[in-house]
């Protein structure tokens, strides 16, 4: 079976800047795929290529085994872009009807009603969008993205600027879409907590290259093997800390009171860290492996990229 989204060695240059330097990944049907990266990493460009808004310079992109240039393929994708693209002078219902007609649905009243219900906007269906809050707009944009019942949803920061209860609602909708209706969700987000909560697979892009890609759980396990917490008897002095920082292969990430968190290079074992610290006069109370959070994985990878 074809993956929902297959990207192979995609390159894209805009002006003189190489935005994507040969990225590759697959998104399987039913995945909630988190696409992470700092500003300017190439996330939006990837999304634009996925939606057929930009043409890749080279590489291969397939959506459900088809070329995105085909109008038939575009019908299989729903999207929420950074700017929601809703018409302020129109009501929620009119916005939905417009997109339903664009996708060739003539009698979509029932579907529109269901979707507005799903995003809790049924009572505001006849209100103009210019009276909506940011959260309501995002929910409406999500409903609009689903009006033609697409197989894939491409969402660019759908919870950005939304209050916590709105975020929870949007997250739940995404989970329901993936788990109950077997839709594929491609979620670009800066919200690492959100990605950790709902995504099963992720890709991390930085400076146009994929730095991390795979099942979130296995990535966490792999990363956890690399995260070491050293509990010390006393607080570490600033001068000693500076010396430890100089030992880049130890990868000191953080210091909290009597704890030092390391993300050592491959080949550096816990025993190596202990012996080096002991040699520097650090009295160690305990050394444990730490389960990595997505945030830690993210910052570790980005730091590694920066230092390399």
């Amino acid at each position: 079976m074809n993956p929902a989204i297959s990207i192979e060695n995609i390159k894209k240059t805009l002006g003189k800047q190489e935005i994507l330097k040969g990225i590759s990944f697959n998104v399987e049907t039913g995945d909630i795929f988190g696409y992470l990266g700092p500003n300017g990493a190439g996330k939006t460009t990837t999304i634009r290529i996925l939606l057929g808004l930009f043409r890749a310079d080279s590489g291969k992109l397939e959506i459900l085994g088809q070329d995105i240039k085909l109008s038939e393929t575009r019908r299989k994708i729903g999207f929420v872009l950074d700017a929601d693209g809703l018409y302020d002078n129109m009501t929620a219902e009119e916005n939905m009807e417009y997109y339903a007609r664009i996708y060739g649905l003539s009698e979509a009243d029932k579907r529109i009603c269901e979707l507005l219900n799903m995003v809790n906007l049924e009572n505001r269906a006849k209100d103009r969008i210019n009276s909506y809050s940011k959260g309501m707009r995002q929910r409406l944009a999500l409903a609009r993205a689903m009006v033609h019942d697409p197989d894939i949803l491409v969402l660019d920061e759908p919870t950005s600027g939304v209050d916590p209860s709105g975020q929870i609602e949007i997250r739940q909708i995404m989970i329901d879409m993936a788990h109950e209706k077997n839709k594929t969700i491609f979620l670009s987000s800066h919200n690492l907590d959100e990605v950790q909560r709902i995504c099963n697979r992720i890709a991390l892009i930085d400076r146009g290259e994929i730095k991390l890609y795979g099942e979130l759980e296995s990535l966490r396990q792999n990363m956890s093997k690399r995260m070491v917490i050293i509990e010390t008897v006393q607080c570490i002095e600033e001068s000693l800390l500076a010396e430890i920082r100089k030992l880049s292969h130890l990868g000191l990430q953080e210091m909290k009171r009597n704890s030092l968190i390391f993300s050592p290079d491959q080949g550096t074992e816990v025993s190596d860290i202990i012996s080096i610290l002991t040699g520097l006069g650090v009295k160690i109370e305990e050394a444990t492996r730490k389960e990595a959070s997505l945030e830690e994985m993210y910052s570790t990878i980005l730091k590694e990229t920066e230092s390399s």
Binding site: A83, G85, M90
Partner: protein, 246 residues
């Protein structure tokens, strides 16, 4: 075709929901059209009609100029009021980008957006031109010399000027979508006074007779030149270019 009609209707609805713009457009258009008609009537047509034997050629010329100016000014003001606002708003709010991510073709979107600005202006322009033709005729001409109208007056007022503005709308939106909307707006701002003063000067200097086929042909020529520029530039309309210019 279905997609163009759909997007055009929606865009017209959306443009017309901006009440302030409609009031500005209608008021300015009415003021200028009525003012222009009054200027011609009181200073040129009335004295001519007071002569024992009015010169029909002169009368046809004045009528032609009233209709030509009314039509071209109405459509010009419409472009001034709606084109820039429509392009800027829809680009900055992501409406265009969202439309381009649907199965709609990018050229279909461009044509539809151009028509959405052109059609209301054309309708109002033609209604006012017709109103001017009837009003001037029934106030001044019908009681004395009968209904004044020539085919070439009709061709210019009801065919060539709308044609000029149709292609001009395509050009303005092409430039505004693939570049900065302000650039499209500058073209709009320059076009109306330049074209109007050029054509009226040609008539006043008797290079062209506003009631003759060469005048109609000159207007067709302007429309054709704009159409050629549009055809030449239209390969520039790509999704990527529109997004990068936003």
């Amino acid at each position: 075709m279905r997609e163009i009609i759909l997007v055009t209707i929606n865009s017209i609805k959306n443009n017309l929901k901006s009440k302030i713009l409609i009031v500005v457009f209608v008021c300015i258009t009415l003021m200028i059209a009525v003012g222009l008609a009054l200027f011609f009537c009181l200073l040129l047509i009335a004295p001519e009609m007071n002569k024992p034997v009015p010169d029909r050629t002169q009368i046809e010329l004045y009528l032609s100029l009233i209709m030509y100016s009314t039509c071209i000014i109405c459509m010009g003001i419409n472009m001034n009021v709606f084109a820039f606002q429509s392009m800027t708003r829809e680009k900055s709010r992501g409406n265009i980008e969202s439309l381009m991510a649907t199965p709609l073709s990018v050229k279909g979107i461009w044509v539809a957006k151009s028509l959405a600005v052109f059609i209301p202006g054309m309708l109002l322009g033609e209604i006012l031109t017709l109103a001017a033709l009837l009003a001037v005729n029934y106030i001044y001409f019908v009681p004395k010399i009968g209904f004044v109208y020539t085919n070439w007056i009709g061709v210019v007022g009801f065919l060539t000027v709308p044609l000029i503005y149709l292609f001009f709308s395509f050009l303005v939106f092409l430039v505004g979508l693939t570049g900065k909307p302000a650039t499209g707006n500058i073209i709009v701002q320059i076009f109306l006074p330049v074209i109007l003063s050029l054509m009226i000067n040609l008539v006043i200097r008797q290079v062209l007779d506003a009631t003759s086929w060469p005048f109609a042909l000159a207007n067709f020529g302007i429309a054709a030149v704009i159409a050629i520029v549009v055809i030449f530039l239209q390969p520039r309309i790509t999704r990527e270019r529109i997004i990068l210019s936003s």
